[in-house]
Point group: C2
Chain length 451, copies 2
């Protein structure tokens, strides 16, 4: 029984402690929890034997930095992860409280279990294991963890943009993606970028009685509906002029590889998504729709009277949260300008519409033919006992584009999540066998790189 | 100085006491306040010298009944009003707390000031004044007050539908409308009806990550947007098949009278509504749009993440509150069926849409050539010193249709509100000179009827 197998109970307890901290970065009242989570990660890195461990303060939530540079001549790997989590609402849909981690069957349920605390923790435990069993690491290792991934990552982006010498590395390792299927080791080579917007629409200066003024008064909720319908049609085509111009279609090889992935549409639709049927651009295969096509989604909307019963008011204002997911080679600033222009053109009479960008990140597309990705594929194959597949992800990890642009290094996206892990949703979980194998795979990866 | 002028300070204090009771009928936690408001009205009727005063209990909020039948051979008038009020939100837009009445200038500010507690109270004070000064009333008088006007009025409708002998009367007097302009005594001869709906849309069974599933997952907020745009176009035309079929256009005489009403569009738009410009069906004059054309309005919408910051979720469900205002000769049940069919036809792929009717009421249109309306016009002319005008109202007072249908009596709509009284909105007010003149006008009305 290996070191990693012997210490599973301990790893699980440590992870639970990490998950109990409600480090929700989008809600300002959780600032103290953000700090607690950062300090927890710092202490863990310290115990793991890393050096120069510190919290990097700045505008926003602290970054956690650590390094171990005792392998001169060997490559340097920069581990990235985030200790912040999404808000847990709707709370009443959780089977166990989101910040009281509960193991049910082979899974641990909690907000942040897989996104991304579980995957941050497995990186640390991999390094700790190597240190404890061999007294050193096979390569040089740095850690840079952030606490704003779910809300835009401005602090880490500003920090990396300043190109601090201590961040020099040969490749980054990002454990924040998922496996294509259970037991199928996966490396992600493409991510969607995104721009997240708040749309604010105002009609009259105050709420108006719909009997007295209905027929004359502008209605900002109806206006948002008109704007949304002008931005995207019923079939899922985005109608924003110029929006698709820079979209690079997947290669024939990629399309063929995706078409041969094992996939049960009924299972995916009904069990994983809990949906009645799939929607989206007709004629575009599913994986292309979710990995290689941009989207426009409305995430939330609020306006007028939403309490119990009836109130006959024409509200003064309404707001919506919207995002556009972007694919290579779309540019966030350009996409935001295009959306703003389209909203302006679609805005009906009598109301004003304002668009505010909350955050944005570029899409990324990595060439899989590089030694850091090959080593990761080999390590995962060893631990999982199956060939590693290359996929893309529809999600956004803006740091990948940032590392590429400012540090000039590729990101190796080894992810251990599963498709039904309920990221950003109630009952988020992490499949514990993947948590344990993730620790081993990361450790094995460092060993292979050191050979 | 008349009795009514001598007692203004006392009337104001009594009104304030009534307004302090937050009798919000749409929020179930205010049930005790509803009862307190009903008991307040009962006690006031008692003190006014009415007999057989009682709360009529039933399914819903109590009705308040009172009678005085000491004028055999004279007509019988049934006063109607409601002691419940709309919710006060958005609270932060009130200049003084909604249930702490405050006099500023010539106005009293509070939720329910004019809709309808102030106008209920003035009826009671008119009767009380006649009793105190003459020891009797010039005609027979009955009161029937309800506590569910803002939430559908089911109790009163059921009660009236049962045609209790004690409700026999020659005409109803409804003080729940407004004057066309300050100093312009007004009788309302037409009301819009309405059907109030809740629209519920569901996509997946749980919230989904918009990165992972965006491009494949149905979005219920986008679906509501599509449904709203399918129900009404950008110009304000309702697109529901058959919806306009029964609409009776106003007569040439009515259109001419409306066109000659004094009206400052800039003042109405900018000052009264606080709007940038008027909207609605092109080519249809304003008064016709708000008095004689049906509308479809969305009153509230809610779905997904609406907190601070960003959450990249495709929500599982979203809801909206919608109403259709109806004009003669539209029928609520038929309109609801038409809307349901249109929602079904507009519902996009991947989601289900459910429509629930919360309440409904028929439109009404009264022939002004009857003695009860003539007497009211004369009484108002005397007290205000100007000719009384006949208008319609865009609002809905379902009881008017109910009295017509089950008691076979016309309703005389003498209203003392002003167009800028902020009904159903923050900073609702009652213009105090109208409150005082309203008391006198109602008293004078009863005297004229008794002559």
């Amino acid at each position: 029984m290996s070191y990693y197998q012997q210490h599973q109970a301990e790893f699980l307890e440590g992870l639970k402690t990490f998950l109990r901290i409600p480090s929700i970065s989008t809600l300002s009242e959780h600032k103290p929890d953000i700090r607690r989570a950062a300090e927890f990660a710092r202490n863990e890195l310290q115990s793991a034997g890393m050096t120069n461990v510190e919290l990097i303060e700045g505008k926003g939530n602290p970054l956690v930095y650590a390094e171990w540079l005792g392998a001169p001549g060997k490559p340097t790997i920069l581990f990235y992860g985030h200790y912040d989590v999404q808000p847990p609402d709707p709370l009443d849909e959780w089977k166990s409280p989101p910040f009281e981690p509960e193991v049910r069957g082979d899974n641990i349920y909690a907000r942040g279990a897989v996104d991304d605390k579980g995957q941050v923790y497995l990186q640390i435990k991999a390094v700790e294991g190597l240190m404890k069993t061999t007294g050193k690491l096979p390569v040089n290792v740095k850690f840079l963890l952030e606490g704003e991934e779910e809300t835009g990552g401005e602090h880490i982006e500003a920090y990396v943009r300043s190109k601090p010498p201590r961040l020099q590395a040969d490749a980054a390792v990002v454990c924040d993606t998922e496996m294509f299927a259970p037991e199928m080791p996966t490396i992600c080579v493409g991510l969607r970028g995104m721009v997240y917007y708040e749309l604010f629409v105002e009609g009259a200066s105050h709420d108006l009685h719909s009997g007295v003024y209905g027929g004359a008064a502008p209605n900002p909720i109806q206006a948002i509906a008109e704007i949304l319908c002008a931005l995207k049609d019923r079939e899922g085509h985005i109608l924003i002029p110029g929006f698709y111009d820079r979209v690079i279609p997947p290669s024939v090889k990629e399309r063929e590889a995706w078409a041969s992935l094992p996939f049960d549409e009924k299972e995916y639709t009904e069990k994983e998504m809990g949906a009645r049927e799939l929607v989206g651009e007709p004629g575009v295969p599913l994986f292309e729709r979710v990995w290689a096509r941009p989207t426009l989604e409305v995430h939330g909307i609020r306006g007028g009277f939403t309490g119990e019963g009836a109130k006959t008011v024409i509200p003064a204002r309404a707001t919506a949260k919207i995002s556009t997911r972007l694919v290579a080679d779309q540019r966030p600033d350009e996409a935001a300008d295009q959306l703003r222009a389209a909203v302006k053109a679609a805005c009906p009479k009598g109301v004003i519409a304002e668009v505010k960008v909350l955050h944005s990140g570029a899409p990324s597309l990595t060439n899989p033919d590089n030694p850091f990705i090959h080593a990761a594929a080999a390590a995962m194959k060893e631990v999982f006992g199956r060939d590693t597949v290359y996929i893309r992800s529809g999600g956004s990890i803006p740091i990948v584009g940032v590392f590429d642009r400012y540090l000039g290094i590729p990101s190796v996206m080894m992810g251990f999540g599963l498709p039904d892990d309920n990221l950003h949703a109630p009952n988020e979980k992490f499949h514990l066998p993947n948590f344990y194998r993730g620790i081993e795979a990361v450790a094995r990866y460092l060993e292979i790189l050191g050979e």
